[in-house]
Symmetry: C3
Subunit: 138 residues, 3 copies
């Protein structure tokens, strides 16, 4: 068994869901690994890593709307020094995901037809988000 590790830096500019499926698939191809697991780990506590529908962009708008209502920025939080969107961003991250793992077969991610991989930025200001891609297999 072999392993291949790489850190991707993804610039974000405000709240949005950024699809990164092709970037991850390119690292899988570069690794030369045909059968294995692709581990993804986001090094942040105010942005999420999720797997969601890749077809209708309205799904992404509904997701953002739902979370805006579930974790309101106008609510009072004790931790408020870093801005109104910071504590809600932490809560959204706990409610969603920081790591994912996708099996690989024949050199390709075994995602379902409708699955895409996304970085979900929860903060308003610009950030550089680091994602560790770690592939193990043969």
């Amino acid at each position: 068994m072999a392993q291949h590790q790489k850190i991707l830096t993804i610039p974000t500019s405000g709240k949005a869901l950024l699809r990164i499926t092709q970037k991850i698939q390119a690292i899988v191809a570069e690794s030369g690994i045909k059968t294995g697991i692709c581990h993804l780990f986001l090094r942040h506590t105010s942005a999420s890593l999720i797997i969601q529908e890749n077809a209708d962009p309205d799904v992404l708008k509904d997701l953002e709307n739902f979370f805006s209502k579930l974790v309101p920025e106008w609510e009072t939080y004790i931790h408020s020094a870093e801005g109104d969107d910071d504590m809600p961003a932490h809560i959204r991250t706990v409610l969603t995901h920081t790591s994912e793992q996708i099996p690989i077969a024949q050199g390709r991610l075994l995602l379902g037809t409708w699955q895409g991989i996304y970085i979900w930025e929860h903060r308003q200001r610009n950030h550089h988000r680091e994602l560790v891609v770690h592939i193990t297999g043969e």
Copy 2:
């Protein structure tokens, strides 16, 4: 280190939590791997993979009730063409899990006494759900 990959197809008929612990344990046994990790990955965005209490079936009813209220189907969503239960199914999936990983020791999943593995179908109509089981170890 060795690896063993298999895709399970699980038929579902409406909203329900289906326990699949024994099916996964059988694949672990078949792999011959004694110490390692069992990676599970569900290839869908409108059904979840969760680990939950395996004893009292009332827990499963309360889970379904809680999520029905948290993500109501009577709410208005932009993405509505695929039915009232589709966008709520996507949101439920983001709030729960698509992948899990369970350590293996002495050829058995290291689940706690009360833990079971479930596919959680969020759609009303019949589906075939694909779960990738990927085991690595020795």
Copy 3:
């Protein structure tokens, strides 16, 4: 590739977020693995494993407050025989995480600057929580 598996027992005494980052890093060091993945798996359905901000303790209070409101203990649940805090604990676990996986480079967990690893106890009475730490790599 090598692997190293250990079960940590963590005593808890009531609802709290307990930081365990140093304990996990010590097991990574002990394993001798320099590049790889650290898989964490909590063997319970009424406590969570999360990765969250490690700096301001107010973040942890806000997290607890948010989940207390989202999953109220005064609500009526069908599963109630084990106490008012039991069913809410199961729901909180499904909304958060049971397993995580953190890449390792140069013998250290590749956590972001602000990330800490926590056991989140959701029950009032004392417990011993078991966490499986399984490291693979070279």
